[in-house]
Symmetry: C2
Subunit: 110 residues, 2 copies
C-alpha cells in the first residue's frame, strides 16, 4: 500500500510499537470477554459470545498485519482504537507520521 | 432412519423428554463455559474458548434434531451424555425403548 523506506532504527520503533499495541489490544479483549462471560445466563448468550469472539479474532488477524507496507494503516487503526499512543511512533520519519496522522483523522468505515 | 409409529401419548412423552434433555444439556454447557471462562488468562485462551463454543454448538445443532425418525438416536445420545434419565422415556413402546437401549449400549464413534 505504501512505498516507504524504513531505516533500522525505524524498524525497531515499529516493532516495539506494534508489539505494544497488540499487547494492549489483547488485554482489552480479555477484559471485555471476562465481563461478557460473567454476565452470561443462557445458552443463547453463548452463541453471542462465540460470534463476538470470532469477529474480534477476524478483525485482529486482519489488522495486526506486520508488513511494512501495512504498518501505517496498523498504527493509524491502533491509535484510533486507543491501543497505541501517538508518542510511541515519534521516532518515525515525518512522511510516515504524516500519513499515519492523516489516516487517524480520516473518518473511515470499519 | 427409523420407521416407527408414534402415538399421541408417546409424542407427548417424547416432547417432554427432548425439552428436558436440551435444558439439562444447556445448563451443563453453561456451567462448563463459566468454569473455562473464569480460567482464561491470555488471548490464546480465547481462541480455544471460541473453538469449544463452535464445536459444542455444531454438536447440539446436529444432535438435538426433533424429527421422529431421529428421536431414538437423540434419546440414546442424551442418555449416554447424562442429559436424560432412562425413566423419562419409560412410556414409549417396547420396540422404541429396545432400539434406544441397544444404541445406548453400543460403543460408537462421536
Amino acid at each position: 500500500m505504501f512505498n516507504l523506506t524504513w531505516s533500522p532504527s525505524e524498524k525497531k520503533i515499529a516493532r516495539a510499537a506494534f508489539d505494544h499495541a497488540l499487547a494492549v489490544a489483547n488485554e482489552k479483549r480479555l477484559a471485555e470477554f471476562k465481563a461478557k462471560a460473567s454476565a452470561v445466563t443462557s445458552a443463547d448468550d453463548l452463541w453471542k459470545i462465540e460470534e463476538a469472539l470470532r469477529e474480534d479474532r477476524e478483525t485482529f488477524d486482519k489488522m495486526f498485519d506486520y508488513r511494512y507496507s501495512q504498518l501505517p494503516v496498523v498504527f493509524a487503526w491502533t491509535i484510533r482504537e486507543g491501543y497505541l499512543e501517538d508518542s510511541a511512533i515519534a521516532g518515525l520519519s515525518e512522511d510516515k507520521r504524516d500519513i499515519i496522522r492523516r489516516m487517524v483523522e480520516t473518518k473511515w468505515e470499519r
